[in-house]
Symmetry: C2
Subunit: 96 residues, 2 copies
């Protein structure tokens, strides 16, 4: 047995990381998502809670692609539709 | 009387400009808005046409602010809520 150091964003206590940098990145992504969601709620009428949250997460998870789109390559938004973060996650059951 | 050169984006034939660069900027803004709208329609369930269009325009009109937010200042999204483009538009009737 050994003690392992874990890192967690206080914005999502369901997820822990062994790498601090990864936890930092996750926390920043969630912070951005929250801000986008608050912005959407204020500016766009009639969105429900789930849509508000989804839009925030969509923009935050696709931040790099969105940056390029805003800088003059809007067509990039039409090519990719990654949920970039989920690709590296392997369900625990799959590793058994 | 004199002939004046006007410029117009074929994405919005209701709006003309005397300055070509302004027309170019307007066209690029609309192109970005369209791409964002298509992306939203594909990724977020249950949005209506008006919401899809509004989100595209909101992101495109606030491009500079959004760029800064994505680069590490998400709080900027909570401070400002400009509809940046409408401030410089004078209705034709107002100039009579």
């Amino acid at each position: 047995m050994a003690v392992v150091t874990l890192f967690m964003s206080d914005r999502d206590k369901s997820k822990t990381f062994t790498d601090k940098k990864e936890a930092d990145n996750y926390d920043k992504m969630l912070e951005l998502a929250e801000s986008v969601s608050i912005w959407m709620e204020k500016e766009i009428e009639g969105l429900n809670e789930s849509q508000i949250e989804s839009i925030g997460l969509l923009l935050a998870k696709n931040k790099d692609n969105l940056l390029k789109a805003l800088k003059g390559k809007p067509e990039l938004l039409l090519e990719k539709s990654d949920s970039e973060d989920s690709e590296n996650v392997t369900p625990i059951s799959a590793s058994a």
